[in-house]
């Protein structure tokens, strides 16, 4: 199962369908992955998230579901690709540099939430 993965556009579709399953009028907003145009997500997690989106709509007072996806550890390590593009559109030389970014974590989305059910696994590395 660990090798099975969901296409990024399929994830958006599945998340929206799960949010509207009980009440089709429910608004579903997904944000945080805007910078990823392509990619594959772990299918096991996608299934759980679909189930959890549906679960959150079981409260009849929920009119909108927000699905926010951020790095678990919000000091993220990025590669900077600096390319010099020539007249013919080709890149003869590129420089790679690393860049760290600190950005708001889950606390900023949860500070006024009454009940937080944290189902994430521990952060200890796999042994």
């Amino acid at each position: 199962m660990r090798l099975m993965h969901t296409r990024l556009p399929d994830f958006y579709e599945k998340a929206i369908l799960a949010g509207k399953k009980l009440r089709p009028d429910t608004e579903v907003e997904i944000r945080g992955l805007e910078n990823f145009q392509t990619g594959k997500l772990a299918s096991l997690r996608v299934g759980r998230v679909e189930k959890e989106i549906e679960e959150i709509t079981q409260d009849p007072n929920v009119e909108k579901v927000e699905v926010i996806i951020i790095p678990r550890n919000t000091e993220t390590n990025h590669t900077v690709i600096i390319k010099g593009i020539q007249k013919n559109g080709k890149c003869k030389k590129a420089i790679l540099e690393s860049m760290y970014l600190s950005s708001p974590g889950e606390d900023c989305a949860l500070y006024d939430v009454e009940e937080i059910d944290d189902r994430r696994g521990p952060l200890e590395p796999r042994r």
Binding site: N73, T74, E75, N77, Y100, S102, S103, P104, G105, D107, C108, Y111, L123, E124, P125
Partner: protein, 344 residues
């Protein structure tokens, strides 16, 4: 139960300080019978809606600033709280004591300062161990984070990542806050911006590790080094205090560029004191950064009459480069004593 702490509130020093900065004395935590984590949580709960950084300071211990100068006191834990809470994974980090060893003394020549009468026999804390850093062990900075706030580089750079404000709290300044001493608060400016990159090679340094030695620049960003941190607000100790610690290192034969980082402050004091500077050991990339703020090989080589120790301390304000715009404050002018209550 009440726990005493010191607070430099957001807006202090004529509006320069952008973030609430709390400091707890390790001795007060010990007397209260609390762990560092429990103490930081108590202080964090004192801020219902606001973010705050929390540093635990052991005034009886010693630490080393990034340019290799030993100082009284040490950060032994650092944390961030927001809306009264501390993030369970990343919100607090404690620092393990570093034991004395002959191997350490042989590998890191600047640590000979630890053998002097000023520091001998005192506990040493620098940066966190890999175990202390879990689960952030693979990441760049020695950092804690909760909500809007991060507390970086073992409690010396505090950021609000939503408002995108930041302050540099140099360790000697933190100790003046603890002691009720003398501070400089202002904008870092080019000299401080360049100086931050002139580091020594250390295992488990507060900010840097083994990658960059004396005479090198960790910034390695040429003429841009003077701008990378120049617009930050900064809290530092009064220059005479920084001069005293640096003179102690020079007095036992520590050489800038060889044993000590070639920061503008260290170079300027060594030059005024007539002490040797390892000019040939300063790498070209570091010279580019130093020359961008007017510190050249020619100026450092020019013959001058050495000043006495007392003269340097008396004229520290003129000799030491530093912040671009800074104002002197008594710690009591910007810092309040507060008490956090244990709410069970």
């Amino acid at each position: 139960m009440k726990l005493k702490y010191r607070l430099v509130p957001q807006g202090a020093a004529d509006g320069i300080v952008p973030i609430n900065l709390a400091f707890i004395d390790k001795q007060d935590i010990d007397e209260a019978g609390l762990t560092y984590k429990e103490a930081c949580a108590m202080v964090g709960r004192d801020f219902k809606n606001d973010p705050v950084t929390i540093n635990v300071i052991d005034q009886a211990a010693v630490t080393v600033t990034s340019d290799g100068i030993m100082n009284d006191g040490a950060v032994v834990a650092f944390a961030c709280a927001d809306y009264g809470k501390i993030n369970k994974d990343f919100g607090v980090m404690s620092i393990s004591e570093m034991p004395y060893s002959e191997a350490l003394m042989a590998e890191e020549p600047h640590m000979k300062q630890w053998n002097t009468e000023h520091y001998c026999g005192r506990r040493l804390y620098r940066g966190p161990s890999p175990e202390d850093r879990k689960p952030l062990e693979s990441h760049n900075e020695h950092m804690t984070m909760t909500g809007r706030i991060t507390n970086n580089n073992t409690g010396s750079e505090m950021m609000n990542v939503v408002e995108m404000t930041e302050i540099l709290a140099l360790f000697t300044g933190q100790m003046e806050i603890m002691k009720g001493g003398d501070l400089l608060v202002g904008t870092a400016g080019p000299d401080v911006s360049v100086g931050i990159g002139m580091v020594v090679r250390e295992r488990r340094g507060r900010i840097f590790g083994w990658n960059y030695g004396a005479g090198k620049t960790a910034h390695n960003s040429g003429i841009y080094a003077k701008t990378v941190k120049s617009d930050y607000p900064a809290i530092a100790a009064d220059k005479k205090i920084v001069a005293e610690y640096t003179l102690r290192a020079l007095d036992i034969g520590m050489v800038p560029g060889l044993h000590l980082g070639c920061s503008p402050v260290v170079l300027s004091i060594a030059k005024a004191y007539g002490k040797p500077i390892a000019l040939d050991n300063i790498e070209e990339a570091a010279w580019v950064e130093l020359e961008s703020i007017g510190i050249t090989r020619e100026k450092l080589s020019a013959p001058t009459k050495p000043m006495r120790r007392e003269e340097i301390l008396a004229h520290a304000d003129e000799i030491l480069p530093g912040m671009e715009t800074a104002k002197k404050y008594k710690a009591s002018e910007i810092c309040h004593i507060r008490y956090a209550e244990n709410q069970g």
